[in-house]
C-alpha cells in the first residue's frame, strides 16, 4: 500500500486548527448567545471530528469502501441522536393528566 500524501505541514496545520477550535469552544462558553450557544458548540465539535476523520484517520485518502463504512458510522450515530432527541423533544406535547 502506498503511504498517504500527508505532509508534516498538513498534520501541523490540522493540529493547530483543532486547538483553535478547542479555544473557540471554550470562549463561546463565556458569551451568551441564548439557544445558539449549543448550535455553535456542536458545530465546532463536528468540525473537529471531521478534521480528525479526514486527516488523522486518513479518510480523505482512502478508497470507496472505507469511505462508505465511515459514512455508515456517521449515519448510525445520527439515527441514535435523532430518535433519542425525538423522545426528549416530544415529551411536552401531551399535557399531564390533571395539570
Amino acid at each position: 500500500m502506498t503511504p498517504p500524501p500527508l505532509t508534516r505541514k498538513t498534520l501541523a496545520l490540522v493540529f493547530l486548527a483543532l486547538w483553535a477550535l478547542v479555544l473557540g469552544t471554550t470562549l463561546i462558553g463565556f458569551i451568551d448567545l441564548g439557544q445558539y450557544n449549543i448550535v455553535v458548540s456542536v458545530a465546532f465539535a463536528a468540525i473537529q471530528a471531521l478534521l480528525i476523520a479526514l486527516f488523522f484517520m486518513q479518510a480523505l485518502y482512502e478508497g470507496r469502501i472505507i469511505r462508505i463504512i465511515i459514512t455508515g458510522g456517521i449515519v448510525w450515530f445520527l439515527i441514535m441522536e435523532t430518535l433519542t432527541l425525538g423522545d426528549y423533544m416530544t415529551r411536552g406535547w401531551l399535557p399531564f393528566p390533571g395539570k
Binding site: 448510525w76 441514535m80 423522545d87 416530544t90 415529551r91 406535547w93
Partner: protein, 563 residues
C-alpha cells in the same frame, strides 16, 4: 467413503473446484504439538477451538447461576439464598450469558472455524488480531469473574441508572470493565470477518454465490462494529458518574436516567440480533443440506440478514415504553418494531419452503434446526406482543418478557449453537458423533426448554414480575414446572458435551463430506490441513446446488457400478 470423496469434489459438471478431498495425514490438530502451539497459534481453526473451550466453561458458569435461581424459586418464600444473593445471581447469569456466551458463541467458535473454509481462504485476513481477540476476551472474562469472586454485582445485566451509579454497593465498575474489555475482542473479530469476506473470497466466489452463512455473519459483524462502541462509552459514563459524581444519568446530580436507557438499548437491542443472526446463519446452512434442496429465495434470505441488521437499530425505544418515554416516540418505536418482524418472517417462511417437497432427513443437526424454527417463531411472535404499546404496559418487566427473550436466545441461539456443532463436528474433529445419542439430546433439549420457559409466559401474563426471589403462592406450581424443565434442560446440555468429547477420541472417522453437502468446507479433508486447501478453489456455481449434485451423484454411481 471413496464414493463420497469422488462425488463431492464438485457440484456440477462445469464446476471447477480444484481441491481434492483426499486423506491428509497432517492436519491442523497434529501439525504442531504442545500447549504453546495452541496458546500462540494464529490458525483460525485452533483459535475457534480455544474460544469453544472458554465459552463452554463460561456457559456452564452462567447455567449454574440459572439453576440456583430456579431452585430458589421452587418455594414462594426465600429458602435457599438471600434476596441480595438472588439479585447477584440473576445479574451474573445475565452478564455472563449475554457477553461471554451468546454474543461470541457462534461467530467466535464456528464462525472462526468455518468462514475461511467456506470462502476458500487459507485463514482470516488478520490471524494475529484473531489470536489477540481471544486473549482480550479472556482478560474481559477474567475481570468479570474477579467481580464475581469479590461479591458480585446486583444491578441486573442492564446496569440501570441511577441505581448502578449511585446506590449499588457491589462491584459495578469491575463488571462493567470486564464487559468493556470484551467489547474490544468483539470488534477485533468483527473487523477480521468483514475484511476477510471482502478481500479473501476464492476466485469466482461472487457475493451471490456465497453461502447464506457468510451473508449473515457479515451483517452480524457490521452491527457489532457499529454498536459495541456505544456500549463502551455508556459503561465508561456509568463509571465516571459512580466515581466522580459527574451528573450524567442521576437526576440528583442533574442527569437523566432515561438517557442511559437510550444509549444502553441502542447497543443492546441490536445486540439481540447479533445473538440470533449467527443462529439464523447456521439454520440457513443446515436446512438445505438435510432437505437436499437449494435454499428457497436465496436473494431474499441474504438481504433479510441485512434488513434485520438495519431495522434492528431502529427499535430500541420499545424497551422504554413505561420508562417515561414520550408517547409519540413510543408510537414510532412500536411501529418500527413491527417492521423488524418482516425480514425475520422472510427467513422462517423460506426455511420452511426449502423443506417443502424436499428429501428431508432427521439427522441431529436438522432436529436442532427444526427446533430453532419453531422456538424462534414463538419468540418472535411474542416479541410482537411486546412491541404493541398497550400490551407491553401490562406485561412489561414480567416473566412474559423473560420467556420471550429466552425463546429467542436459548430456543434460538443455543439450539443453533448445538446444531452447528453437530453439523460441523465431523469437519472439526474428523470423527462422527453417535447419532442416536445426538437425536436423544436434541429431543431432551427441546422438551426441557419448553417445560422451562412456556410456563413463564403464563406466569408473566398473570402478573409475576421478574427479578423477585419471593412470590405469591398461586404461582408456585408454574414455577415448579419451570424448575423441573430447567433440570431436564441441564441434562440435555451435558449429554452432547459428554458424547462429543467421547467421539473426539473414539468416534468413527467422518471422511471429508459425511453430509454430502455442497459448501467449500466439505471439499477439503476432515480435519482440514493447517492451510485449509491444497490448492485455492475456483468456484463457478451457485451455493446449495443440490440438483447438480444429484445429477453428478447418479453419474458417479453408474460409473462406480460399471467399474
Amino acid at each position: 467413503m471413496q464414493l463420497q470423496d469422488q462425488v463431492h469434489i464438485g457440484g456440477s459438471a462445469d464446476m471447477t473446484i480444484e481441491t481434492i478431498a483426499e486423506p491428509v495425514r497432517k492436519n491442523y490438530l497434529n501439525d504442531k504439538q504442545g500447549i504453546l502451539s495452541w496458546l500462540l497459534t494464529t490458525d483460525h481453526k485452533r483459535i475457534g477451538l480455544l474460544y469453544t473451550f472458554s465459552i463452554t466453561v463460561l456457559f456452564f458458569i452462567g447455567g449454574f447461576f440459572a439453576l440456583m435461581m430456579r431452585l430458589e424459586l421452587l418455594s414462594p418464600r426465600n429458602w435457599l439464598v438471600s434476596t441480595e444473593t438472588y439479585n447477584k445471581l440473576f445479574t451474573m447469569h445475565g452478564i455472563i450469558m449475554v457477553w461471554f456466551f451468546l454474543i461470541p458463541s457462534i461467530p467466535n467458535t464456528i464462525g472462526n472455524f468455518v468462514i475461511p473454509l467456506m470462502i476458500g481462504a487459507k485463514d482470516l485476513a488478520f490471524p494475529k488480531l484473531n489470536l489477540a481477540s481471544w486473549y482480550v476476551f479472556m482478560l474481559g472474562a477474567g475481570v468479570t469473574i474477579y467481580a464475581l469472586f469479590r461479591g458480585g454485582v446486583d444491578t441486573g445485566w442492564t446496569f440501570y441508572t441511577p441505581f448502578s451509579t449511585g446506590y449499588s454497593t457491589t462491584y459495578v465498575i469491575a463488571a462493567a470493565m470486564g464487559i468493556f474489555i470484551s467489547g474490544f475482542s468483539t470488534i477485533m473479530t468483527s473487523v477480521n470477518f468483514i475484511a476477510t469476506i471482502h478481500r479473501m473470497r476464492a476466485p469466482g466466489l461472487t457475493w451471490f454465490r456465497l453461502p447464506i452463512f457468510i451473508w449473515s455473519m457479515y451483517a452480524n459483524s457490521v452491527v457489532l462494529v457499529l454498536n459495541t462502541p456505544v456500549l463502551a462509552i455508556t459503561l465508561v459514563m456509568v463509571a465516571v458518574e459512580r466515581v466522580f459524581q459527574v451528573g450524567i444519568f442521576d437526576p440528583a446530580l442533574g442527569g437523566d436516567p432515561v438517557l442511559f436507557q437510550h444509549m444502553f438499548w441502542f447497543y443492546s437491542h441490536p445486540a439481540v440480533y447479533t445473538m440470533v443472526l449467527p443462529g439464523m446463519a447456521v439454520i440457513s446452512e443446515i436446512v438445505p443440506v438435510f432437505s437436499r434442496k437449494p435454499i428457497f429465495g436465496y436473494t431474499a434470505v441474504a438481504f433479510s440478514s441485512v434488513g434485520i441488521a438495519v431495522i434492528g437499530f431502529l427499535v430500541w425505544g420499545h424497551h422504554m415504553f413505561v420508562a417515561g418515554e414520550s408517547v409519540y416516540s413510543a408510537m414510532a418505536f412500536s411501529l418500527l418494531s413491527y417492521f423488524v418482524a418482516v425480514p425475520s418472517a422472510i427467513k422462517v417462511f423460506n426455511w420452511t419452503a426449502t423443506m417443502y417437497k424436499g428429501s428431508v432427513s432427521w439427522d441431529t443437526p436438522m432436529l436442532y434446526a427444526i427446533g430453532f424454527i419453531g422456538l424462534f417463531t414463538i419468540g418472535g411472535m411474542t416479541g410482537l406482543f411486546l412491541a404493541a404499546l398497550g400490551l407491553d404496559v401490562h406485561v412489561h418487566d414480567t416473566y412474559f418478557v423473560i420467556a420471550h427473550f429466552h425463546y429467542i436466545m436459548v430456543g434460538g441461539t443455543v439450539m443453533a449453537f448445538l446444531g452447528a456443532f453437530h453439523y460441523w463436528w465431523p469437519k472439526i474433529s474428523g470423527k462422527l458423533y453417535p447419532e442416536g445419542l445426538g437425536k436423544l439430546g436434541a429431543m431432551i433439549v427441546f422438551l426441557g426448554f419448553n417445560l422451562t420457559f412456556f410456563p413463564q409466559f403464563v406466569l408473566g401474563y398473570l402478573g409475576m414480575p421478574r427479578r423477585y426471589a419471593a412470590y405469591p403462592e398461586e404461582f408456585q406450581m408454574l414455577h415448579i414446572i419451570s424448575t423441573a424443565g430447567a433440570t431436564i434442560l441441564g441434562v440435555g446440555y451435558i449429554l452432547p458435551l459428554c458424547y462429543l468429547i467421547w467421539s473426539w477420541k473414539y468416534g468413527k472417522p467422518a471422511g471429508p463430506n459425511p453430509w454430502r453437502a455442497t459448501g467449500l468446507e466439505w471439499q477439503t479433508s476432515s480435519p482440514p490441513p493447517t492451510h485449509n486447501f491444497k490448492k485455492t478453489p475456483v468456484v463457478n456455481v451457485r451455493a446449495y446446488d443440490y440438483e447438480a449434485m444429484k445429477e453428478q451423484l447418479g453419474l458417479r454411481e453408474r460409473e462406480f457400478e460399471n467399474v
